[in-house]
């Protein structure tokens, strides 16, 4: 039977997908149509949500978006009853149609292979896509050492940020002696601007469970924890369902698939602390303590959760694992560059036309992602920079847009691959303010254990705030540079060691913007409110009174038909006058 499938992930729901699903069900029931209504996770086209896919038995797929309740009737009558797809609403089909087809067609989906395809709350959907085949193959045909060999050969590196080879990590943990060992899945996803882990958990939770099972078998661990942030209620709900289903089927628990291997998985909800994404802090948090990192070594592979050998990997890393076991190491390492194999999922957000999830082979360029897949910058503005790697990363400027995506090339720019968040910025984004924003974040999230991170980030934030308020001095830039180096060199964990990166990269590529703030007391992006002045261009003002009426603090005077005046001492720079003026007679400078 033909199916209508609604994308029900957090982004879809926020855009109104639940109402679309309800309306669809209601109409199909009322009209007794031969159509089965279902749902799926995130397709990745977050900018087009809500999405509805029509999928026929013969395998034709038509994705429509954005859909709303009003569009349902026409969809049902024209596409379902008359069999004529509605071209102007189509975003993608699997036979070459759809306005946004390049978005999906340029991608290579390994991690996201099932996202948007299957019902994430149905284990049989996952099994139908070869799910749980890889663990069975491992248990039957592979010794743990052979399995680890495959992971090493595949070249898979951890997707949580540092890019450590996954197979090596497993080998170290396997070699550590201990009666009890643990697997941890890091689903803390604290980088603001990244959401690929959420989408994988919401769209294909079983792939992560299967990856953990395989890791457990390879290492000799029987217990797994998924540490997931509490801000992701839907991901937690779907994980719980998935774990229950896997337990019922005997895929989790004692003697998995009848083999001499037992494995259980528990969920631990995070409690809102960015530093708990760091592996040693995360383990403290699972133990019920304050999530403070400790010095490594000993590494978790030797001394981890409750002092037992522990292998901790990211969600995306685990989602790759079953695919690699099923398809072989060579199929994976066929994609990518010399030292970065496979694909990487990026979360695109900011001033970009198509914000969403993009999975590409390592080795494509930033330009490929921004222009060919995501269709460039919103509102025809100019591309200025892309922030990669979140608070630990940096801003890569437009002149480096041909940088290829792999761990080493991105590190050379001063940013880091990180978890794969990419926030695109245009000419209206002030780079000093972006640096200030990240320092504000890291300063708040510093756990306070080491001095350089705790106090150093605070001092940097104060300097940056001063600059954005027009009170900076030229010596501030040297001071920032000096502090940045010291914090990098002396912090205990990755949080402090990388916290200066956003400042260092903006100083390197956008020094002129800093200098404009300090020397001419101007914000070139017209963003920093302390440095902008709104005034009326007398020659253009026809005294329509629109600005005076909208001004929330009533600081604009003038009678109808006459030139208006903004009283600077009262102006709060909210920009409302600038927005409403029909004759563009307000100058923002």
């Amino acid at each position: 039977m033909t199916r209508a499938i609604v994308g029900l992930s957090t982004c879809g729901v926020a855009a109104g997908a639940e109402a679309v699903l309800a309306t669809l069900k209601e109409r199909v029931d009322a009209q007794t149509l031969d159509l089965q209504v279902g749902f799926t996770g995130c397709i990745g086209m977050c900018y087009r949500e809500p999405l509805v896919e029509i999928r026929t038995d013969s395998g034709e797929r038509f994705i429509y978006g954005p859909m709303n309740e009003k569009r349902i009737d026409r969809l049902l009558s024209q596409h379902i009853q008359e069999g004529k797809p509605i071209e102007e609403w189509l975003v993608w089909t699997n036979n070459g149609l759809g306005s946004d087809r390049e978005f999906l067609n340029h991608q290579v989906r390994i991690v996201l292979r099932n996202c948007g395809l299957i019902n994430p709350e149905s284990i049989s959907d996952y099994i139908a896509q070869e799910g749980y085949k890889a663990i069975q193959k491992a248990l039957k045909e592979l010794t743990p050492d052979a399995l680890i060999g495959i992971m090493i050969d595949s070249g898979l590196r951890g997707r949580g940020g540092a890019g450590f080879p996954t197979g090596m990590k497993w080998r170290f943990t396997r070699l550590s002696a201990g009666p009890r060992k643990f697997i941890i899945c890091n689903a803390d996803e604290g980088d603001p601007g990244a959401f690929m882990d959420r989408s994988v958990l919401e769209g294909d939770p079983h792939s992560v469970l299967e990856g953990m099972l395989i890791a457990g078998y390879a290492i000799g661990a029987h217990e797994g924890y998924i540490y997931v942030r509490a801000e992701y209620p839907k991901a937690i709900e779907r994980l719980k369902i998935a774990i229950r289903q896997a337990e019922e089927k005997g895929f989790l628990g004692n003697n998995v698939f009848g083999a001499d291997f037992s494995f259980g998985i528990k969920i631990k909800e995070g409690a809102g602390a960015f530093v708990c994404g760091e592996e040693t802090a995360l383990m403290k948090s699972i133990e019920g303590k304050r999530g403070m990192p400790r010095i490594r070594p000993p590494f978790p592979a030797v001394k981890g959760l409750w002092d037992s050998p522990t292998s901790i990997n990211n969600v995306e890393t685990f989602a790759n694992v079953p695919w690699i076991v099923t398809n072989g190491a060579a199929a994976f390492s066929h994609y990518g560059t010399e030292r970065s194999k496979g694909t990487k999922v990026f979360a695109l957000a900011g001033k970009i036309n198509r914000g969403g999830l993009v999975e590409v082979p390592m080795g494509v360029t930033i330009r490929d992602i921004v222009y060919n897949i995501c269709s460039g910058i919103k509102d025809n503005r100019r591309f200025k920079a892309v922030q990669i790697g979140g608070p630990s990363g940096g801003c890569v400027p437009i002149q480096l847009q041909d940088t290829i995506i792999d761990y080493d090339s991105i590190s050379r720019t001063g940013a880091i691959m990180g978890s794969g968040g990419m926030v695109v910025m245009d000419e209206t984004t002030c780079m000093v303010d972006v640096a200030r924003f990240f320092l504000d974040f890291t300063q708040r999230e510093s756990c306070g254990k080491c001095t350089f991170c705790r106090i150093g980030t605070r001092r940097m934030l104060e300097i940056l705030t001063r600059i954005t308020e027009g009170k900076g001095e030229l010596g501030d830039l040297d001071l920032l540079d000096d502090l940045a180096q010291k914090i990098k060199d002396n912090s205990l964990c990755g949080l402090g060691q990388t916290a200066p990166n956003p400042v260092l990269t903006t100083l390197k590529y956008f020094r002129g913007e800093y200098e404009a703030h300090i020397l001419s007391r101007k914000c070139p992006a017209h963003h920093c409110t302390a440095l902008i002045i709104f005034s009326v261009i007398a020659a253009l003002c026809d005294g329509c009174t629109a600005c005076a009426r909208i001004c929330p603090v009533k600081c604009i005077s003038g009678t109808k038909g006459e030139v208006h005046v903004i009283h600077q001492n009262l102006c709060t720079k909210c920009g409302e006058c600038y927005r409403v003026c029909p004759r563009d007679a307000i100058l923002k400078d």
């Binding site: 604290g190 980088d191 601007g193 209620p233 409690a271 809102g272 019920g288 957000a349 900011g350």
Partner: protein, 155 residues
Amino acid sequence: MDERQFNFRRMHYEGAEGALIPLLQKAQEEMGYIPIEAIQMIYERTGIPPSEIYGVATFYAQFRLKPVGKYIVRVCHGTACHVANAKSITDAICDTLNIASGETTPDRLFTIETVSCLGCCSLAPVIMINEQTFGNLTTSSVKKVIKRYMKENGK
């Protein structure tokens, strides 16, 4: 402390295997915040000293030691939302409810919090009211959302 007592405490620790955070989460889920009585109760159940419980409760942003409103309005100030002018969204909500961020309305209906990233960055700016997410907001549409909640509660 005699050794038996010490072991007793350790046993509770290990038996609970990191139960403290889930216990605090449970308490907060039921009461909306962590009252001092809850800390006392957790101490009695687990043997974890109140000072340590307090230390953990204050470490994590999720835990509140003060009562909150029926609706928690979480305004995202993550990177994507920041460049999409999340500040104006916070201002609009604060204006509508007449409280500052971090505060609760006197009728205990709303609490405003800021968070970093709700994972819906491509719909920035984003807010979450309890477990419901709203995206692509403008200052006027967010006011409408808040007013709808006020109306539903007879305000």
